[in-house]
Structures are given as structure tokens and as C-alpha cells.
Symmetry: C2
Subunit: 83 residues, 2 copies
Amino acid sequence: MEWIGFAAALCTTFAFVPQVIHTWKTKDTSGISLAMYIIFVVGVSLWAVYGLLVHDWPIASANCTVLFLAGSVLVLKLKSLRS
Amino acid sequence: MEWIGFAAALCTTFAFVPQVIHTWKTKDTSGISLAMYIIFVVGVSLWAVYGLLVHDWPIASANCTVLFLAGSVLVLKLKSLRS
């Protein structure tokens, strides 16, 4: 059963890679919800803090990765709003 | 420390609500990566199955909720590609 959790974690962590590439290339962020990415980045940051506090390194490292990826989409969205 | 995990789960689960509303209202899905939502929905489904198999109801219920929300965005994206 552990491999299901591992495969699940791989998918939900790296799913954001194609979104970062898509947003980076097209700069098309109108369809992306700013509220979603703000709430999501806050949530993933809390998960990373939680993982560090309870010394759960898989949770901490997976969420640090998602934080970098979803954070990149958020930065691109904020940049497009300013320009 | 548990409240941090609870707050984290709330954020990462309900972050998709504003995205569903945004996509539903605007039908603007060009900036949304199809690959992201396919991989993410697969991952969240695997998390839900994993939660059910190990009898972890918080993991199962949270991921069923995200599956419904992210799945809605995926359906709207697929509909816009067909039209």
C-alpha cells in the first residue's frame, strides 16, 4: 500500500511543473485564480512548517518542493497584474 | 502543533474553491495547464484510495473534496478544448 501513497505524493508534488512551464512560456495568467494561489501557498507553507515541527521529512520536503513550484506561479500571476 | 496541520489541510483543500468559481464564471481556461490538472487529479485520487486503504479518514475525506474541486476545473478545461 505504501507505493500508492508514494505515487500519490509524486503526482501531487510534480503536477505543478507543467503549470509553471505553461505560465512561464505564455505569460497567460488571466484564467488563474489569484485567491487560489495565495491560499494554496499559505497552506503548503503551513504543511512544510508542520513537517519540520513533527520531524516528518517526507511531508517537509514534498511541501517545500510544491511551495517553490506553486510560489513561482503566484509570482508570475502577481507580475502580470502589475504590468 | 496539530492546529498547524489542520489549518494547512483546510487551506490546501479549499484553495481550489476560488479557482472553480473563477473558471466557472469566466470560462477562461487558456492559462490553465491541462497536464497539471490531469496529473493532480490522478494524484489526489491515489491519495483518496490510500486514505481509504489505511483507514485514515482525514486523508480520505480531504482528498475526496479536492478531487471534486480540481476535477471540476479539469472538466471545464476539457469542455473549453472541445468547443
